[in-house]
Symmetry: C2
Subunit: 361 residues, 2 copies
């Protein structure tokens, strides 16, 4: 698990006795960079409230890495990324061309944060990093979905064997605590059905089509301009992003080993304004839902455009919303919705996991 | 902390290696009795999924107690209560007239579950029980709000000193994980505003007034007939129940020591159909909200009827709903709503806390 120490941190004359946690960050894209930025702003409050201080001892991106057991400056790393430069340019300790695996071998830490890009074919480079970290008994916090989609059971088993914790609350619907709600808040009760709007891109598109009467192509364009859709939007619009998240939910909340191949997945590419109008005439709204439906012996898992009654909480979600509804046997029906613009809430979710690894109670 | 063992439990030929947790239950009203009933139904699944078995070693109500370190039959205790009899009638081990404090002194356990009636003057008998349990290093799970409203800081400090955990997710809005969302899922981010519908009775009444045009008196009558309002409904309709819950949220989520006396509290007794109509004409709906509003240096805490835009998620809550909205700096705006009828979801929330005391990860 490594050695973490206690330090005195001085903030404007206030001394906080804190437990220092060394972390390694793989991936410095939107999530990684914003994680650093949020922590810079919240560092003092986190030390005060939780008695925790996180020291960044290594960070890498596609260009290289920086390693310093004394701690890297979060502001400096963040600012390099804002300037669209590689962390390999970090003064003194930056190294060009070193990859994530090499970087991990050079450092001791308490926590790995995997914010590397989701690769659904191999899970790499994240999957190897996560395995390495768990073998070293480091805790792991994930924003990267790939390893969880490809190897959920193996990774959770490894974590358990090593006495390390694997948290991933930021992997399903950004900052919305979908996983936490399902795993912790429904513990003991039985989930009968799950309905989720887990993909922001498609909800933005469908909401614009519904409310403004613009067609799919125009709404997609708008989504790209608004920065919520990629130049190649397939992963989102074909339903695969939502499907990956449903795989994670099935494994974690429903305790059901699940692979992506089991899901029936239909995206929104072929939806027309006529279909939306037809639904509207029935008092319904079409949303791209991730669904887990219990058929008496197993859950049927799918992602598909679904007509919901217009008063349904998910039917009423808007441009920047995602949400989930858990139908249970003993705990009633619990719904949650997040309104979030941009990557910051997902970064904040990673930070909450880091804190929750150590927060008492 | 006591001695808990591992046992083999046999379920229909399936052997589950489980960790056995001894618990004591104070209070056998709606919550206590339903806790036992839910656990009876979910016992096998809980053993299978979490490797946990909860053994009831003592239980008390206003008539007496039953104590058995070998374990009481949950079904038998539940059925005594369904027959409106005291647990003092439990065969062999039932004792008439023994109070909670005496009962606790006769047993060793791992967890105290306080489901005793909320007393906002003294917090008793729950407060003494909770103190005793924490001094003995037992964990504590609370459905009873009184001790938390009266002595939050003292109890959490004691728990921390003793290395015991104090959980209370079922004390704010039934089964809705209001506390858990705020404490665990927003960790690291800053809460700027909280809006809550924390009292089911008043939401039922206001929803009927709004949607059916019946007046307060008639809606209250309907609520009493539906079993969601007491013969003396003051605690609910005068806003005190919601206020107690807001005190708990202020202490736990906002990390702000708070007493009930600090809150400005107005209930719904004086609301008229004219006022509701006036709001409706403005496109608004009146709900009884618990509010925490940051004024730049502190939170202003109140419970009061509030006009919300009709598209607001809380404005759209119905007869059996409660909900919360957390506005944050970095994690967007997170809303959660529960639909729950009757006391079972609160009992299920107590069970989830019991499981989460021990659940790995």
């Amino acid at each position: 698990m490594g050695i973490s120490g206690s330090v005195f941190l001085f903030f404007r004359g206030y001394t906080a006795m804190t437990q220092e946690i060394r972390f390694v960050l793989v991936g410095l894209g939107n999530i990684g960079r914003n994680l650093l930025d949020v922590y810079v702003h919240r560092q003092e409050e986190i030390a005060r409230r939780y008695g925790l201080a996180f020291r960044l001892v290594a960070a890498c991106d596609s260009g290289g890495a920086a390693v310093d057991e004394a701690g890297l400056s979060l502001e400096l790393v963040r600012d390099l990324k804002l300037a669209q430069r590689s962390v390999a340019a970090y003064p003194r300790t930056g190294v060009v061309g070193i990859n994530a695996a090499d970087m991990l071998a050079r450092i001791s830490a308490d926590v790995l944060v995997d914010a590397s890009p989701t690769n659904l074919a191999t899970g790499e480079p994240g999957l190897s990093c996560v395995r390495y970290a768990l073998e070293e008994k480091w805790h792991v916090v994930m924003a990267n979905k790939g390893p969880l989609v490809l190897a959920f059971s193996a990774l959770t088993r490894l974590a358990s064997q090593k006495g390390a914790r694997l948290l991933f609350s930021g992997t399903v619907a950004g900052g919305l605590p979908t996983v936490n709600l399902g795993v912790r808040d429904l513990a003991g009760s039985g989930v009968q059905r799950v309905e989720g709007i887990f993909n922001g891109t498609t909800n933005y598109i469908l909401t614009r089509m519904e409310r403004e009467g613009i067609d799919y192509a125009e709404a997609l364009c708008g989504a790209q301009q608004a920065g919520i859709a990629e130049p190649d939007p397939s992963l989102d619009v074909d339903g695969w992003d939502a499907a990956n998240k449903l795989v994670i939910i099935a494994n974690s909340v429903l305790n059901r080993p699940t692979t992506l191949q089991e899901l029936a997945v239909t995206g929104i590419r072929d939806l027309t304004l006529d279909e939306l109008a037809g639904a509207r005439a029935q008092g319904e709204v079409i949303k791209l839902l991730a669904l887990a439906e219990f058929d008496g012996s197993d859950f049927i898992l799918s992602v598909r455009p679904t007509a919901l009654p217009q008063e349904h909480i998910l039917a009423r979600t808007g441009l920047w919303d995602m949400g989930v509804v858990y139908y249970t046997d003993y705990m009633g029906t619990i719904s949650a919705v997040i309104e979030e613009k941009g990557p910051v809430p997902t970064a904040a979710a990673v930070l909450r996991d880091m804190i929750n690894l150590y927060r008492g109670n």
